[in-house]
């Protein structure tokens, strides 16, 4: 028996956001499935802790659902998700800080390579650990630009800073990361 699958064009974000705003949960499911992976990977690199990353992603998508009405245009949905994920990750990190001071062991909660056998490349492993040595703001800016391909303008909006600030952070992050990748002469 052969299965004939009807492949319809995936609906665009604007249509899905419009439907979701009208309470269409199935439309929102499609949006969650479309974007949860990239938000998760971003959060995981920010936090280096899977449960924390999942918590962030869950809260971001629940908040997004609540705020669909305020979203000016459906096309802005992804940008909104990145902004919310960035800010939540930074908040989680800030909330961790006092704990690490009292209790040095709490550092073990984060792991540059959380038991990931797939992550074989030595360079990638070095990069993963080096990322955690950056400041939180630098790491956020660098990841958004270099791994997630967001523009400087967008990133500036996410963090509520200027494009100059964003460029500066990314430049500094790049220098610091490159040094780890190979000895700097």
């Amino acid at each position: 028996m052969t299965h004939i699958e009807v492949v319809s064009d995936p609906l665009d974000d604007v249509t899905l956001v419009t439907r979701a705003r009208d309470g269409d949960i199935r439309a929102y499911e499609t949006l969650v499935l479309r974007y949860q992976g990239q938000m998760y990977r971003f959060a995981l690199r920010m936090l280096a802790n899977r449960p924390d990353a999942e918590d962030v992603v869950q809260e971001v998508f629940l908040t997004a659902w609540r705020r669909l009405d305020q979203l000016q245009e459906g096309a802005a949905f992804v940008a909104w998700l990145y902004k919310a994920t960035t800010n939540r990750c930074l908040n989680v990190i800030r909330a961790r800080k006092p704990q690490t001071e009292v209790e040095p062991d709490a550092h073990e909660a984060t792991d540059p390579l959380p038991d990931r056998s797939a992550e074989v490349g030595e360079q990638m492993a070095a990069l993963s650990s080096a990322l955690l040595e950056l400041t939180d703001d630098q790491r956020a800016c660098w990841l958004l630009r270099e791994v997630h391909g967001r523009s400087y303008d967008e990133i500036a909006q996410y963090i509520g800073g200027s494009v100059t600030v964003v460029r500066g952070r990314i430049a500094r992050a790049r220098v610091q990361l490159a040094e780890v990748m190979a000895p700097w002469r």
Partner: protein
């Protein structure tokens, strides 16, 4: 570290800006061929670029449970905001999701050829409901009777699938979807 941070950026001892080297990693000029600082920087930046590409192609997905948790939370939100009181007795209150009723009514309207239900708003007055529905219709199927047929189907669906009577049903044809 043999590098100076300036207002302009990060300068190598030879005076070149690291950003400038980064921007043209695939080209090389006479200076860079000779300059040990630039060569070293290029080597490191190329390694960084390769590792970054690998990271960008990372396909790690969250646990399957995450999606379920997100959607459960969304549904929990929806239901609290959205449930409408229905006719009930001493046994206890009965509520039905307004969104679920709207979906049933949209589905009923969609069964009429040439009709696509769009926005649908349901208001409960406990024993009866009021409905406002907007339609996009096909120009080919547009007729005087079309709205009446939709009205019949919607009213029947409310009775058969929800168990509530529609008191007021406002239907607006807001668009022709095939023109």
């Amino acid at each position: 570290m043999a590098m100076n941070e300036t207002d302009q950026g990060y300068l190598l001892p030879c005076g070149r800006d690291v950003e400038a080297v980064w921007d043209r990693l695939d080209e090389i000029d006479a200076h860079e061929l000779e300059c040990p600082h630039c060569l070293g920087a290029r080597e490191s930046l190329r390694a960084l670029r390769a590792a970054t590409e690998e990271m960008a192609h990372d396909t790690e997905e969250p646990s399957r449970a995450l999606f379920g948790r997100i959607m459960s939370a969304v549904r929990a939100e929806v239901r609290r905001g959205d449930v409408l009181p229905m006719p009930s007795d001493d046994a206890g209150p009965i509520h039905v999701s307004g969104r679920a009723i709207a979906a049933v009514l949209r589905f009923a309207a969609d069964t009429v050829p040439g009709v696509r239900a769009r926005h649908c708003e349901v208001v409960s007055r406990i024993d009866v409901i009021d409905v406002r529905m907007k339609l996009a219709v096909s120009y080919v199927n547009l007729s005087v009777d079309l709205v009446d047929v939709v009205r019949e189907r919607v009213t029947a669906a409310a009775a058969a699938r929800v168990g509530v009577r529609v008191d007021r049903l406002d239907i607006t044809v807001e668009d022709l979807y095939d023109l």
